[in-house]
Amino acid sequence: MLQLPDVALAPMLPILIVLAGAIASTVLGFHLPRRALTIINLVLVVLSGISMATLWNSGASSFNGALQADNAALLLGLVILVGTLMTLLVSLDTAWRARVSFPELDAMLMYAVTGCLLIAFSGDLIVMLIGLEIMSLSGYVLATLQESRRAEEAGLKYFLLGSVGSAILIYGMALVYGATGSFSYVTIADRVGAVSDLTPANVGILVGGGLMLLAGFAFKVALSPFHQWTPDVYSGAPTSISLFLSTVVKVAAFAGMLRVFAGALADAPGWASTLQVLTAATLIIGNMAALLQTNFKRLLAYSAVAHTGFLAMALLGTPQLGGAALGYYLLVYTLTTAAALAVVAALQRNESGMQVSDLRGLYYRHPAYATALAVCLASLAGLPPFAGFFGKYLAFQAAFQNGYMWLSVLAALTSVAALVYYLRPAMLMFMPDRTPAREYAHGQRTPTTLTVALGVAGVTLLGILPNLWYGWVANPAIWQGLAGR
Amino acid sequence: MPDWLATLLITLLKAVLVALALLTTFAYMTLVERKLLGRFQIRVGPNRVGPMGLLQPLADAIKSIFKEDLQVTLADKLVYTLAPIIAIGMALTAFGGIPAGPAGSLFGENPWVYNLDAGILALLALTSMGVYGIFLGGWASGSKYPTLGGLRSSAQMISYELGMGLSILGLLMLVGSTRFTDIVQWQGAHAWMILFQSLAFALFLISSFAETNRTPFDLPEAEQELVAGYLTEYSAIKWALFQMAEYVNMITSSAIMATLFFGGWRGPGFLNGLIPGIADWPIIWLVVKIGLFLFLFIWVRATLPRLRYDQLMRFGWKLLLPLALLNTVGTAFYIAFLRSWGWWPMAVASLIGLLALLALSDVVRQLWAGSGHGRREEPGPVRTAGGD
């Protein structure tokens, strides 16, 4: 008789609930209208969130620690769910206009979320990999779902580069396994913690593996120079899907990075110095490229790349500080980006998004949306009353305190560029304009409005009282145990 | 001579022997088949070359070799040539893993060319590789009918491969090993697997027919629709190689079925009462069983009409696959919870399942024969090429 595996359902509950939504969408899609499915999924997402709340501080784990519902997982999971919630709400309005109103949309979204949660909850590299792949594969499908040239090309690009990223990541995983003899974060962290235990050859393999993992993740989160797919995909996919890809998927990928680099490989040599170079490159390229964009959706895509740089900066901090910073930043980033893209989704004439110049005078046609968008842009830019500021602040702080001063300075400088490209559309909206409107006139619908309101309220509230969320995230103990120790 | 060299040489020798044996069998099987078909259709069959037509295969072979080997202008030269080689190579290789007797029974050597832990898996893998031969052959011909024929046949083969793979899961659960020798041993210790897994056997048998492109599943070569399918542009020895592959596959399938479900190289145990030890004679029993199955193949060819392509695919996906899955789950359930009853109730259950399937065959046929339009009764429309 073999030993019975340790299967505890409770820590899996949040994931299972989401998975149930995915399966329900697959099966019930033939019998129910998509709207009903989306509502079911919304309810399930909320339920999943509640189940996470009940797991708080339980430190439960399953499969001998391969799946762990520690607080870090829960916090990241909540961020993912928030992004999902917003995506689903927006898709209620805009999916039919984007011609992607199939039950498959919901199914794929929920599968992707399942994968995302798996990453956040992962306790070893294999689970992480499974989650990552479920997420990526669903993502490829999502990007291609709309039957249009743009979407399909975006999907292909996403797929090809994404799979290259996966391959590199898997190879890195293999090398890390080779160096440490385990996939489990805890064991890896233990073995890595005592580098002296490893033979020099193994240290070499470990460094190589770490770098490959880094490159693989860099593909997934779009760190330069592995970011080339991002703008194309984000601007080629339907907006509501770009929303999902640029928030939830990115959050999950960062969750994975956090687990792997701040957890398992925290003490491993090599990756950090490479990451700082990548981060610097991302900050420069993302921000500079965004400056040149004339299409607003594409601009947001590049801004997503630029933000990746900031997020990665947080990763460079010590796990305690960096984890907290990342935890805070990810939520804020999700809220902001989702709300901004929700506005775009509601107001765009077609799925290619809107030109920046189309925004002129938006304030006088859609005052509420324009204000909301302005708030989002201000938050993305990192202007203080909004939460984006504290996100940036935390990222700066995390990097600075871990000795990456030059990176903080560089980030500050590139932020200036960011401000310019965020400000331009934001200000254009307030400039009176006599030409006819260039946006979709009937954009205002309740769920989208709700999403935008959620985002804006969140951003403002978290900006004024960051402790509402940061208070939860700040506890260093949460991030110390990323590897599950 | 170092040990490894000796082993290598012996293995090589065995391989050559097996290959030659298979080819001979193939050659004479064509003859037997033609003869038998003649009988079934109340005609004589080949009897001109040699006594009773015994030299017919030889003549065929010589003709094949000396015929002009055409190569269509538009074909992809390399792949076009490679395809039949792949097909025959995989077919021959597959057979080598089947044990023909207990270890050391062949003049002190093992009566198998290779014996892998993953025996049945490796075998399935090899037969799947055969699909490449057909698909590439069709594709490389660079012409319409072969392409479609190749596609069809690949689609068919992979579809039925699923049923095949799934149907033996129950068996594997019982045995707990994928090694052929273990499977045979288990049957020696208990009883022939056909008793416990009759449903699975039925599924496997059907799948085997489809895998080897035999009637009633010989769609790829449906002349009315696709000329000669993937073979259209082939001639001479390459054509012969494909034919060879098909027949060798048939032999291999027979051998697998014999091994998996009919005790392999062991004879029926009760015969031991007649002549002690007869059930344990190596090779003989296997050959006998293979022969029986081959006869079955021919018999079926003579009896059953060909399926329509859509029926074929539906049959595979909508009946075979779920049934195989059901069989697996059922067996799993039995092993998990009712093991204390012994194995025989399971045999009964399986048999009941099979009988129920037969009894309900009309209802079931409704299920897979179309979307309830009663299309079966209609004099099916003329089907265009391409089965899509």
Binding site: P384, V409, L419, L428 | -
Partner: protein, 474 residues
Amino acid sequence: MIHLMIFLPLLGSLLLMVTPRKWREEVAGFVAALTLGLGLLIWRAGGTELFSVPWIGPLGITYSVQLEGVSLALALVTAFMSLIACLYAARRIPNPGTMLALILGMATGLIGIFAARDLILFYVFFEDALIPALLMLAIYGKESRMKALVKFAAYTLFGSLLMLVSFIGLKYLGGSPTFALADLRAHPVTGPMQTWLYVGFLLAMAVKLPLWPLHAWLPDFHEQNHDSGIPDVMGTLYKVGGYGVFQFGITLFPDASLALRPILMGLAAFTALYAAWIAFHQTNWKRLLAYAGLSHMGFVALGVFSLNETAVIGAMYLLAFQNLYTGALFLSVGMLQERIGSLDTRVGGVMTQAGALGGLTMALWFASIAVPGLAGFIGEFSILLGAYQISPWLTFIAGITTIAAAAYALTAFQTTFWQARPLGSVRVADLRHVEWLVLGLPLVVAIFFGVYSAPALNLMQPAVKAVLSALGGQ
């Protein structure tokens, strides 16, 4: 009370969004007046104690505010000018709800800047004040405002983000538990790192001050803003660089301040002179005023960087009242533009038809060019006096500026208000009701503090002394 004073304008601004259109002007005016009233009450009470509560505990960010001394004086001026701006906006701008809301919103940011005693809080208010300024420019600006806007924002943020990094460094390297000023002073950073951090901080302040190479945004900003001059008033108030250097720079980076003093004073003096020189060539009132303001700010900077008590007091005094009369001048230019539809300095002959406008404008100009008896004089004189003890030559260069100022101001004034009115031009109406108040009140205040400076000086002196004590009484 202090919290109310800081946030009342913001509340008012939000309130305006839900106020019916009819009452917006009244509500805004009332809020602005109330803020000023609160400020005066605080003044009467002699400032407030330091109020400090943790804001974001884990990060050591506190909500620490205090209004006393210099900060109170500047806050008062801010409240006062916001009121004036509200008054004029209500008259000048059709449907002024948005503008009023922005004015009030900005007032909160500005008062917050002065009240903040926590670096991050300071930064937050610093950036907060930026948003209404940008919006004013975006909504009410002229054609090429986008360029001006981007320039303005880019410069400001370039500095402020580096400032943020330097704040983080300051706390981390000094090991202070919080960002509160008091804590940071207790845990100073020493050595060369202090200088680097100071440079980061200074960049932000130099942009805001503005100091010479970082001033390029200023003229565009003023030129592209709405003709009425209301945004310019607030923009003028937003030149908080001098205050920042005084309140935080000197206290937190005493060694670096001393070390960099010669360079900074040189820059300041150069700025003053250079700006005056440029101003001389301007034919657009707004640009002229912008450069005039720049020139004054050079003075302020000179005073602050000299680290001499007299000069610092003078700088703060000048900073406070320069806002007053430069702001009022912008408004007077706005009135002029309303009447003749141009901002050109060579329209000619306005005085004959609008005597009161011309008169008040001239009086304000006198204040600006530091005619004795007006508030500007006390400030500039003190600065020169104090700075002379530190660096006579630089002070001399800066001193030339005062003469230059008289030259450019009077030339422009002369070509606009005197000279002959061109034939066939429209008749220029004189000041009407509210406009009297708008120009008169600042002038009255300027005269009052020009003659009787004791209240303001008494208010500032202790604060300046306290700050300079950080230098170890050099």
